[in-house]
Symmetry: C2
DNA sequence: ACCTGAACACCGTTCAAGT
DNA sequence: ACCTGAACACCGTTCAAGT
């Protein structure tokens, strides 16, 4: 049978034959970063990533490795975007600025906060942040507790962004909360539940307030955490 | 062709024909709970669960619904195991006891803490805990902030257990941390990193200390959080 | 060295058909 | 009502073979 005349040229059977440049690891991570910004770190598959760079899945294995290796590449990139706050700030202000930037950056890459909370400091790009942060705590007087305090603060920040990521993804519908608490809203016998119910209603009726709620929960958590750590420093230095 | 004489009776073509009782939703969740205790909430598949109850996957859909519905069933069961601390405790002690029990229960069902941090209070079984907790904060003087403070404390607790779950699952190898920080251990120019490196070494060389480390990180996070919240109460009531 | 194309061993989910 | 058995549309990963 003769070749179909409607097909002008048969599809080249290799990137090389098509005149395409070889794929690089950097390009793959570039594209994975974009897909993560669009759909979250768990919102794309290796096959979709391969399609996005117009290659076969095996090409990703050849240049980078398995999905986990690609994810680590994305983590490094995102951590690299984190600015280092000025080193002359008092420790509390330094951490306040850091976690403020942290949320801004991580909200652009849903799912990264979760991995960061777990892998935490094992990401190479975090090295300057860790050194500066731990040193500020050491200089402030936390002594051997500095590493623990640092881990707690950063972990808490990443965890709250992570929960925000997943709730935005729709893991918890707004309606679910009203379903569960609605009936208790005016229950005078259960004032604690009534308060939670009223709160759920307010968010359900004013969906535009949800973003603001996440921001204020984050700020609240960060401030309480820093308050608690500052309190600990007082206890440590008052009676040494 | 005659029936193979080695097969005494042909396999019954239905549970009913085999004399097996009908599967119930309760049994399915029972088994899902056991699988979660063994392999974590993300460590079993619907097909494995179906095999465990000697049924087809479609049977689970018939009685319960999709995988998410099964997971919600497991969440309810685990939350139901949480004891309610005595109501006459001061708020701080009440929460300290609650989150202590929380970790004990949740560590037995890896992955549940993560879902709880996200779905949080939308689980029916949490209703008594929420009412008591929020009410204690209201009575202590947190006013309209009570719901926020409650959410922050419980969320923080669940999140730290969740990170512990995933690290235990091996998401972060112990060696990775040494790989990243090992070279900085004696670096006098980077004392913050050196402290982190020394810490990583200690855990890598004494793996039996890891469980203790998670416990102490959890306790540290809980105490700092409660300190921070208590500090906030002082600020709220000193100048009302 | 880099890529192709197919295969393997899985998933969650759906559905017509049986009892 | 409850279950069977197969099918559908996916996954991540591997690998011999091509260029």
């Amino acid at each position: 049978m003769a070749a179909n005349p409607l097909i002008r040229s048969s599809r080249p059977r290799s990137r090389w034959a098509a005149g395409l440049p070889a794929v690089t690891a950097e390009q793959i991570i570039d594209r994975a970063l974009e897909l993560t910004a669009e759909h979250g770190l768990d919102g794309w598959t290796l096959r979709q990533l391969a399609a996005a760079i117009e290659a076969y899945p095996a090409v990703i294995y050849h240049h980078i490795g398995d999905r986990e290796a690609v994810v680590l590449g994305v983590l490094e990139r995102v951590v690299g975007m984190m600015p280092l706050p000025p080193g002359d700030l008092p420790w509390r202000d330094w951490f306040r600025v850091l976690v403020g930037e942290l949320r801004t950056v991580l909200r652009g890459y849903p799912g990264v906060a979760h991995r960061l909370a777990v892998y935490g400091p094992t990401v190479q790009g975090a090295v300057p942040i860790i050194d500066r942060g731990v040193r500020l705590l050491q200089d402030a007087g936390f002594g051997k507790e500095s590493v623990l305090a640092y881990s707690m603060i950063l972990s808490t920040a990443c965890q709250f962004v992570s929960v925000e990521d997943e709730r935005r993804r729709g893991a918890m519908d707004r309606t679910r909360m009203v379903d569960v608490f609605g009936e208790y809203r005016d229950n005078a016998d259960m004032p604690g539940l009534a308060a939670m119910g009223a709160f759920a209603y307010e968010l359900a009726e004013n969906p535009e307030k949800i973003a603001g709620y996440y921001a204020s929960l984050y700020d609240y958590a960060v401030e309480r955490t820093l308050d608690g750590v500052a309190q600990r420093l007082e206890d440590l230095t008052d009676r040494p």
